[in-house]
Amino acid sequence: VSQFVPPFTEDCRTDMYPPSGPTFRGAVRWYTVDLDLPPSKRWAPLIAERKNDLVSMIQAIKDMANAFVPSGRLIELVDIALPLMADTLPSPFSEEIKGIADASGVPLGEVVLFNIFYEVFTV
């Protein structure tokens, strides 16, 4: 009964492992990040495979931002101001983020926003 009223607290589940059933959407793929490569090149193999998902996620954030500020000013601010922020970030993160923007074709400001979202989200 408890799971049909908020907070839908269930009795403690058992025998859920190995994962299967409706709470398990899928396993997670492994990739190697070669730290011997220049920072701007490290993420290229991964991004080459996942860029469509990255573009789609960032588009969802943009849609939400445009819902708050229909003029599009907020996105403009991100695309103009945040690339300047990229140069202030410590190495190797600045170069890695630029490499991700190059590899994915996502504007640099939007990749920066994705990577500092934890601090921004507290707003």
Partner: protein, 253 residues
Amino acid sequence: CTSVVAEDSKGNLLHGRNLDFGLFLGWDVKNKSWTISEKLKPLVVNLDFKKNNQTVFKSTNFAGYVGMLTGIKPHMFTLTMNERFSLDGGYIGILEWILGQRDGMWMSFLTRTVLEKANSYEEAKKLLAETKLLAPAYFILGGNQTGQGCIITRSRTLSIDVLEIDPKLDRWYVLETNYDHWKEPFFLDDRRTPAMRCMNQTTQTNISVSTLYDMLSTKPMLNKLTTYTTLMQVSEGKLESYIRDCPNPCMPW
């Protein structure tokens, strides 16, 4: 988020976490789901960071995000971070950064630096407790010896508290959601109580990767914001992750 470090009766340390993100960032009425949480799930990847073809550390990440939220330095320590809300928040840190005061670290760059550079639980703990941050956070750290598990509660400038595993006090696990452990959680978001009830019901004798996954699969620790579950075993150097769904009825957070 729900993070837990537990010591089994043989002294092995286990570390598990649910990564919940996307609150208030768009609700999909038709699918009863959070837009951003659903967009993040296809981006979940496991990463093996190598140098000279040797594993330095492993993590579960969102592709395109260079910082760390969940990681293991095999045979040394395991690290997760949970969001901490405070009025002295990240927006102040960002303002200081823009104004040129840059002595703080971006949270996920610190966790990445710790996983890459620290070579022991104690060294990791010191860095996480003492480095100035731009935003408050909870760092949940597991080591490779008995008693090595803690929750570091951080403000931007201070280490407010460190709660450690203490077998003498029969505290065989430490568990963090998104509230200071010495305060009651927000009553509409109490995931701590059911999580601890399940851990206590499991008992130290029976804690394992499998029963840790059971707890993290129980509502409301599993909720509509949960994107992935990660389980780590430091002594085996093992990290495993699973993308999650929460069938209705399910708490939005």
